[in-house]
């Protein structure tokens, strides 16, 4: 029983990092319908922004803000350099994929030049070494902190999208750019803000994951991008609550397929399940509403 509960804790903790990252992905891939493969590189970039800030002696919450802003900056950059130009020139949607992959490679190359290839870690803080044991189940203080921060970020995004004028603008653009133009929404600026939000979420999750698992490396974004794509498909494209639920779900699927089947087949089980889910519910597991583009 304690093993089961421990695995539950492991899964939720892993899932919280997936969820934050996937929220950013779903804003770009789903809401804006843009394929941005550089999202993983923003995640990596955020982790390094946070690391640099932490090494300069900034306290963790401020370092997280730096990671947020840094990731957001990269997101804005990608929109201004690539996607805006591509839209203006009537480029194919697939060209965005090629360009953003190239951008991701460039960012990885820059990180490698600037910080080296070796894995780095965040400065150790005694506060983060604390862990509690409840009947054989270990919970680290850090895990709790990261879960809380993740939930706060999710709540902030939900509030922003549902209650603010920016959120209304984003939802209008997502519905139709033409409609948005007619009702006077500044489309270009709204898309730019969405890119900032998505980049910021990627950057923040980079720092959270980097802290939780003690890993910052130029190559950390690639695997995360795959997880992010998986989660947003699970949750339904453009569905923010779905991305959150999908994130936790993927964390739990991964952990429990290791726990009760085999670690060698973890990814095959994960993807096999997704394959089946897609066949049964082609618009994602949490597609209660009629999917926009179906």
């Amino acid at each position: 029983m304690s093993t089961f509960l421990q695995q539950l804790v492991n899964g939720i903790s892993l899932g919280s990092t997936y969820a934050v990252f996937a929220m950013g992905c779903t804003l770009i891939f789903g809401v804006l319908n843009i394929v941005n493969m550089a999202q993983g590189a923003f995640f990596m970039g955020g982790a390094y922004f946070g690391l640099e800030a932490a090494q300069l002696g900034l306290p963790a919450p401020l370092a997280l803000v730096v990671a947020l802003l840094g990731g957001g900056l990269l997101g804005v950059l990608s929109e201004l350099v690539i996607f805006r130009t591509l839209r203006a020139r009537g480029g194919h949607r697939w060209m965005g994929l090629v360009a953003s992959l190239a951008l991701a490679r460039m960012l990885v190359g820059v990180a490698q030049e600037a910080f080296g290839t070796q894995v780095q870690r965040y400065p150790a803080s005694p506060l983060l070494q604390i862990s509690w044991e409840f009947g054989g189940v270990r919970v680290q203080f850090l895990q709790v902190v990261i879960l809380v921060v993740s939930l706060l970020l999710m709540a902030a995004l939900a509030f922003l999208l549902q209650r603010s004028s920016v959120g209304r603008a984003i939802r209008t653009v997502a519905f139709s750019e033409d409609v948005a133009r007619i009702v006077g929404v500044p489309v270009g600026r709204t898309i730019l803000i969405t890119f900032f939000l998505a980049g910021a979420l990627a950057g923040a999750s980079g720092m959270l994951l980097g802290n939780l698992f003690n890993v910052v490396s130029p190559f950390m974004g690639e695997q995360m991008l795959v997880k992010g794509l998986t989660v947003i498909i699970l949750g339904g494209l453009g569905n923010v609550p779905g991305a959150v639920a999908g994130g936790f779900l993927l964390g739990l699927i991964e952990v429990f397929s290791v726990a009760y089947v085999s670690s060698s087949f973890r990814d095959a089980i994960g993807f096999g399940l997704i394959f089946v889910i897609l066949l049964v519910k082609p618009n994602g597991l949490f597609s209660s509403f009629e999917e926009r583009r179906a």
């Binding site: 093993t3 492991n10 903790s13 070796q118 003690n214």
Partner: protein
Amino acid sequence: MKRTTLALLLSAAGAIGFAGLAKAETPVKIGIVQATSGGSAALYGVMQKNGAELAIDEINASGKLGDYKLIGIHQDDGGDRGQTVNVFQRLINQEKVAVILGPTLTTSAFAADPIAQKAGVPVIASSNTAPGVPEIGDYIFRTSPPEAMVFPGVLAYVKKKFAPKTAAQIYGIDDVLMKSAYAVHKKALESEGIKIVSTETFQKGDVDYSAQLTKIKAANPDILVIGGLAEETANIVRQARQLGIPPSTVIMGANAAISNKLAELAGAAANGFVVGAGWFINYDSPTNKAFLDGYRKKYNSDPDTFAAQAYTSVYVVADAVKRAGGVSDLKKFRDAIAATKDLEANNGKFSFDEHREPVIQPKVLVMKDGKFTLATD
């Protein structure tokens, strides 16, 4: 970015000056095929490139080769096998190198080494530890000791000291190095009569091992054997202790885990970690001290086992150049490499055996307060 451009200009200027100097002397071209881009391969490709280039500079500066001047030609294969073959073909046929150091990945070696073998150009690997690499042909050598040479001694030590009955294994299933290390570990455990109670795997890029470790914790083994690179091993060790795998469970690692990164990333959790190695950073010898000083001065960081082995490879080459009297006859040069015996290297006396494998004295190391130290009893 500015720094990079400057470095680039400097190195270009250096290369020009270098070429001008080399004209007066007899050049010995050394191809260095190491991945410095393209994901996790770059992790140990960069280290080996650093080690080899340091050794080349040292040897040229020392003047011990007389008129011969070593010229390192580094080519990045991006950890991609197709590119490794491209680079090998060009180094052999166009640059006419005398020897190739590398490649970084064993999978690249299987594809590219046959080309060098066919052309009669010696290859010395410093990170390919999987079985079957020197078997490609009589021109293929390696300075990296295969796991089978190191691990049984480590296990014998652990068995004598802790008398373990059960073991758990965790290894990187998609990494050639680690998959072959796993097979060696398994065989050694079985021949020592230690029961394997749990076997788990992970993949490149994984950072969360808690699910596997929770399973291992439930199996309650006496020892935990990790088949992973230094960065992976460090995280596994740290997470294992965090999840409450008790200190009574001795954690052992593969040869590739020898790196100061281990202590840096794992912190106090790494204490008591046991590993076997040909080389380790605190090995006390004048040659190793010179290596460490040189490396730290040039790169401002600590070398790892891969850097050390690449460094040794270059000294093997220099030694063979001297004994063969140049590289105009590659067959003679190859024979000189094969005859390497008791060369004073950074891990003690270095020789090749008849299978072109390194002969080294395996050392059993225990992590104490963030430092690898020789196991005493």
